[in-house]
């Protein structure tokens, strides 16, 4: 099984992507399956580290939380920009120690942090496991720390480690 189909999830995603790009028909499904098969074999030849998902059920919870937070922070950042210089705003750097070591988990965290407006991932120090963020509206540093540590990292730890 693992020799023929090393990345079952990726294969499914590639087939779905092919079907979305073309149209849903048996012929396209067959073409998509063949292409996905070749692509996955190509990836397997590179021997990338295989990510392990431990808790599938929590993934949807994470996605829901992140989508909600993106909406909220979009509104917050848009407000700040529109208010202009009328409002006092402090932006600044912030270092957060991370417990998350798994590289796929970190990659997902970086996607979450960059796609939420107001927080930007600047640097990750892998020898010290610290993350340097730039926060657009750094009024309450502990609130931001709680957000990253408890809201996202906790879930990611459960999913990946």
């Amino acid at each position: 099984m693992s020799k023929i189909l090393p990345y079952p999830l990726l294969t499914i995603f590639l087939i779905i992507m092919w079907l979305l790009l073309t149209n849903f028909s048996l012929g396209q499904f067959l073409v998509g399956t063949i292409l996905a098969f070749i692509a996955v074999q190509g990836l397997a030849a590179l021997h990338p580290a295989k990510p392990r998902l431990r808790r599938w059920d929590l993934l949807s919870k994470l996605i829901a939380i992140v989508l909600y937070d993106i909406v909220r922070s979009n509104i917050a950042v848009a407000k700040i920009i529109l208010q202009g210089s009328k409002r006092e705003r402090i932006s600044g750097f912030m270092t957060i120690p991370l417990d998350l070591r798994d590289s796929s988990g970190l990659a997902l965290l970086s996607v979450i942090i960059t796609s939420t407006p107001g927080t930007a991932w600047i640097d990750y120090n892998s020898t010290q496991d610290t993350l340097l963020l730039h926060i657009f509206d750094l009024v309450d540093e502990t609130a931001w720390r709680n957000l990253i540590k408890n809201r996202y990292e906790q879930l990611l730890l459960e999913i990946f480690e």
Partner: protein, 141 residues
């Protein structure tokens, strides 16, 4: 068939609302990009366009063409996925490049490298990196 006039009212309203939200967020993001004065502040503004700015326009497009063609048109989702997955790469690249420059220029607003066991803040390294631009400057003169 592919004509906007054939859209029923509810769909037209939904499409219009989503398009306005998306375009509005992209506009606010660009405006912030222009208005803000500091590099690290500025990288926050365009994320409005890459997050819900893109998402709202993608949704509007999906609703519009799904209704017009009376089948589910979902390939726009891929745009959203690729934009979301690839923005961290560019943002990190820009952020780290700026941080590197500010640190080597000794900008006090940027946090210094805090590595007790790290190899990055050895004095020889900074000397070397400083001497290179000086040499090239002298040659140009």
């Amino acid at each position: 068939m592919n004509h906007a006039a054939h859209l029923p009212l509810w769909a037209a309203l939904l499409v219009a609302i989503f398009l306005l939200i998306g375009a509005g967020l992209a506009l606010i993001g660009s405006f912030g990009f222009y208005r803000l004065r500091n590099f690290y502040d500025r990288i926050h503004a365009p994320t409005l366009g890459t997050s819900w700015g893109t998402a709202a326009i993608v949704m509007a497009s999906m609703i519009c063409f799904s209704v017009l063609q009376s089948r589910l048109v979902l390939h726009e989702l891929l745009i959203g996925v690729f934009v979301t997955v690839t923005t961290p790469v560019t943002l990190m690249l820009l952020g780290r490049a700026a941080l590197y420059r500010d640190r080597s220029e000794g900008n006090p607003e940027v946090p210094a490298i805090s590595t007790p066991k790290g190899r990055l803040d050895k004095p020889q390294l900074t000397k070397e990196s400083e001497s290179v631009p000086h040499n090239s400057k002298n040659m140009n003169d």
